[in-house]
Symmetry: C2
Subunit: 160 residues, 2 copies
DNA sequence: TATTGTTATACTCTATAACTATA
DNA sequence: TATAGTTATAGAGTATAACAATA
């Protein structure tokens, strides 16, 4: 088979697998914690950040959303008590989002079901060697895409 | 590193890569043809089906959307002249969606830019061996997920 | 002047349930 | 009774542009 064809297949397999996984997760997260996938991802991203906090703009970049979209979601999560927004001491323009204890609790509550789907859906079909190869390749692709994707600030500038 | 950790990394890399790729594609498709990613995917799926036609329900399953959502998108694509809906001769309940010549034209117009992003974003970072390994693993994962994901008919039944 | 975050607004999309028609 | 597709409706989420405040 031509390599071109193999690449096309890999591309469509990536997109379909990502979409299917997200659909399954959307159900699971709603059931186990009343979260959308985006909200889960935001909390998970904060939880793994140093001290559980990140600047709003940096958070917007990792999630690939407009700033206004992030403001909307952050407001919902703040109302639910899952994160707090604090003004930064160094730069008074910026706002820092911090995950709360309650946010971490909900994350822990939701995580076992999440991991179960990952195990059943992704890795039951792969042996250890394939898992390593998949992880290596996907990380390389992700890193490459991060470079290509414009930041939220760039996207804003491009409009004017 | 523990395998568990490696799996978690692979999972998040998959989701982030898929999201980034979709964002880049959304821009490209809008620019080159005024299509959303979903609309592109629907047309592409039809184009590769035998005779360029599929039953609505089957189409809904491949794109993982509710039937009403597909009706909405199909109506838009039909208005734009990119697909046609015809009643099936065998089963008069079902409707067959068929891509039009104009739809195929638009697909061809949009495809070069699409392929360019796939090449630059995904495969520039991988050698041939990695590409094969990635395709193998992703296809195995996708096939496994297809089994786990409920069909549109199942989802409808689950509600009642 | 540029950047950060918010807000107002308008729009797209999605899902649910109810409905029609056919099997 | 079950399935296929549509429709009405209502809600969630998104992006754009305009805004205020700080750098």
């Amino acid at each position: 088979m031509a390599l071109d064809e193999r690449r096309t297949e890999a591309y469509f397999a990536l997109m379909e697998a990502g979409g299917l996984l997200q659909m399954l997760m959307e159900d699971q997260l709603q059931r186990d914690g009343g979260l959308s996938y985006l909200q889960f991802f935001l909390l998970a991203r904060l939880a793994q950040a140093p001290d559980g906090r990140m600047r709003m703009t940096d958070l917007a970049d990792t999630v690939i959303h407009s700033r206004s979209g992030l403001t909307y979601q952050a407001a919902k999560l703040e109302t639910a008590g899952l994160l707090r927004r604090e003004s930064s001491p160094h730069d008074e323009r910026s706002v820092t989002a911090a995950i709360t204890d309650q946010g971490r609790e909900l994350l822990n509550q939701v995580l076992p079901g999440h991991v179960a789907i990952v195990e059943q859906g992704m890795f039951e079909a792969l042996d250890d060697q394939q898992t390593e190869a998949l992880a290596d390749a996907l990380e390389a692709v992700r890193d490459r895409l991060r470079v290509l994707a414009p930041s939220s600030a760039q996207r804003r500038r491009n409009r004017s």
